[in-house]
């Protein structure tokens, strides 16, 4: 239980700026996700908080105490590494015990802490194994137990699930959420997988090119992106980004906010040809070629054999997001209304099939 404040932290590796004046407050007992594409600086930020890297400038505060120069071992944080970093020559039990021994925790107490941690990740029958004799999921649990046993205030996790197969990842997501609710600690979790971010995080920080793009609840990040990067990053597939040469505005529409109709209704609609379709079960993602570019549409699966068919794509007018020429979201209602009128005009100009808005 601890909150972390990052103040003006910058970091460069040989003239390449990895973090550019980061300011961030990680709430006490939150499950905060640092989300972004690879190379966005999220792992470096995590390592700075752990004390494994020193920032070029700026401060790391923990409960309002300056931790910037404190050694990693004295920060009361535990870290789970992407490759687990389990000591390969030590058994599961010895791996979990290692940190306590270094801290000279005496034996009845030490055994109890280790046993508790092992029980928590359900590895009771594996304690005598070496890491090499275990599966990826089991190794992941050992790494978690090694963090848990220290009873830290902050858990730092660096893409801990990325080495697991898809099925195991689903299981571990549940287990991590479960652990989070049991441990009452602050979790800071780095990932590039938005499903992990959306399903586990209470708070998501989206980073790109060393800058925080947006932070907020998973709902806010998904429904109300601040800029084109976030709109084009979040979602599977992400929002359609529509920008037109000669105009200052860009627009984004989520695939699920478009409906395919064979007859028109209260939407702005545009005709297009289905280029490809991806059936997901109940839903399907259609890639549709239109006069304003290729867009993907997520909709209840039509199942019929409609490939290459001409369809009408109806875009919900109130779901269109407008951004200015610097890529920032237009918040001003009047400006927004104007931008939308531009959008309509473009579609009118481009589409001879346009049915217009009712």
């Amino acid at each position: 239980m601890s909150n972390v404040t990052i103040q003006n932290v910058s970091k460069a590796f040989k003239e390449v700026t990895v973090l550019d004046t980061i300011n961030l407050n990680i709430q006490d007992s939150s499950f905060t996700i640092l989300l972004g594409p690879s190379g966005c600086g999220k792992s470096t930020l995590l390592r700075i908080i752990a004390g494994l890297e020193t920032p070029d400038q700026g401060k790391v505060l923990c409960d309002n105490k300056d931790m910037t120069k404190v050694l990693p071992g004295d920060r009361n944080v535990a870290m789970v590494f992407q490759n687990y970093a389990l000591y390969p020559h030590l058994t599961v039990y010895q791996n979990i015990e290692y940190g306590l021994k270094a801290r000279k925790v005496k034996n009845p107490e030490r055994t109890k802490l280790v046993t508790d941690a092992i029980n928590m990740v359900r590895l009771e029958d594996q304690v005598k194994k070496l890491p090499a004799q275990m599966s990826g999921g089991q190794r992941q649990r050992v790494a978690l137990a090694r963090a848990i046993v220290k009873r830290p205030k902050i858990f730092l996790m660096d893409e801990p699930l990325s080495n697991l197969d898809a099925k195991l990842r689903n299981v571990m997501r549940y287990e991590l959420t479960d652990l989070y609710s049991k441990l009452e600690a602050t979790f800071l979790y780095v990932t590039h997988d938005q499903i992990e971010a959306m399903s586990m995080g209470t708070h998501i920080v989206i980073m790109n090119k060393g800058i925080i793009q947006q932070e907020g609840s998973p709902k806010a990040i998904y429904e109300d992106p601040d800029n084109l990067f976030v709109a084009g990053f979040i979602g599977s597939p992400p929002a359609n980004i529509l920008s037109f040469e000669g105009y200052d505005y860009s627009f984004a529409v989520r695939p699920e906010h478009m409906i395919l109709h064979t007859t028109h209704e209260e939407h702005i609609s545009i005709f297009g040809d289905i280029v490809s379709s991806e059936h997901l079960g109940y839903e399907a993602i259609y890639n549709i070629k239109t006069s304003i570019g290729n867009i993907s549409v997520k909709t209840p699966n039509l199942w019929d054999n409609i490939s290459n068919a001409t369809v009408e794509v109806c875009i919900k007018m109130n779901k269109i997001m407008a951004f200015d020429h610097s890529g920032e979201r237009i918040r001003d209602p009047q400006h927004h209304a104007y931008a939308i009128s531009v959008f309509k005009q473009v579609i009118l100009d481009r589409s001879e099939f346009l049915e217009g808005v009712v």
Binding site: A50, L71, N83, P88, H89, Y98, A102, R146
Partner: protein, 307 residues
């Protein structure tokens, strides 16, 4: 008819099992020519008396050579000296390089490269040149070492390092060891490079001291290399010291610096006694073979291999 067909299949199968041998043939031929044939010849000559002159013929003498070897006054001395060389070489081949490799491992790339190049330089110098340079350094009256010691007032007159009883062996050891440090440091550095850095980060987060990290993480993870270097050192010290004995002391004074390798050379090459030389060679072959097998067993039990 049935039987002949059956036999045919058997012969075909047999020829097929021989197939891999054809690919190995060039290597087998060279190994046979340069390793196994000489080995067999050595065993053969160890039971012969022969002065290596083309005009004379080897004469069967049974175990005579071996018995004479055990009675020879230099033989015991050479065995004891070899043991001292082996013990004395371990700090140079294992302990000092291990410390140097670990200390330089965490330096920045530039400093690391400069240091490791310096350590490695003696290794690439020709042994005979090295021997001659050290002879100058060790010179009883004008050598730099004696000059320095006298200058500091530690001694009144020059020490005859290579000519007196305990110092000669130590001097040979120092030269051979000095030359080995670079090689071992390089080997340990290579092993250290293979250790995943995240183990140390995990240990840092566990508030583990650098010394404790070295003892509980580094050493176990490079144990195969440590044991390998110990084995190399034990088995080859006699060879590594040979050049310096041959150039600087010729085994003297009074057999104080001779070792089994040099003894073999004296019997076989200097005295033209093929029988004695071969008998000594076979004895040491068996002796070092046993040591090698023992160390291999130790290796299997104690070394940890990270995959």
């Amino acid at each position: 008819m049935f039987l002949s067909k059956f036999q045919n299949i058997k012969i075909k199968d047999f020829i097929r099992t021989l197939n891999p041998l054809w690919f190995m043939l060039p290597a087998l031929f060279l190994m046979g020519l340069w390793t196994y044939w000489p080995l067999i010849k050595t065993v053969f000559y160890s039971f012969m008396e022969w002065n290596m002159l083309p005009s004379s013929t080897p004469e069967m003498v049974g175990f005579e050579n071996y018995l004479r070897l055990f009675d020879h006054p230099d033989f015991g001395k050479a065995l004891v000296n070899t043991l001292w060389y082996i013990i004395g070489m371990l700090p140079f081949a294992v302990i000092i390089p291990l410390i140097l490799a670990i200390v330089t491992e965490n330096m920045n790339t530039k400093a690391k490269n400069i240091y490791r190049t310096l350590f490695f330089l003696p290794m690439i110098m020709p042994p005979v040149t090295v021997a001659i340079i050290w002879r100058w350094l060790f010179h009883p009256s004008v050598g730099v070492i004696n000059q320095a010691l006298m200058g500091l007032g530690l001694i009144d007159q020059g020490i005859n390092f290579l000519g007196s009883e305990p110092t000669a062996l130590f001097s040979i050891l120092l030269i051979a060891g000095w030359k080995m440090i670079g090689f071992s440091t390089l080997m340990f550095s290579a092993a250290l490079t293979g250790v995943d850095k995240s183990y140390y980060e995990a240990a840092d987060l566990d508030r583990t001291s650098k010394l404790r990290q070295t003892l509980t993480i580094t050493l176990p993870l490079i144990s195969p290399m440590v044991i390998y270097m110990i084995m190399l050192s034990i088995l080859f010290t006699a060879q590594w010291t040979f050049v310096y004995i041959n150039v600087l002391t010729l085994g003297g004074p009074a057999s104080a610096t001779t070792n089994v390798y040099y003894l073999m050379y004296v019997y076989g090459i200097k005295n033209f006694n093929a029988g004695m030389g071969s008998a000594a060679a076979i004895l040491f072959f068996v002796l070092f073979g046993i040591i090698a097998i023992m160390i291999n067993q130790i290796n299997k039990r104690f070394a940890f291999y990270d995959n």
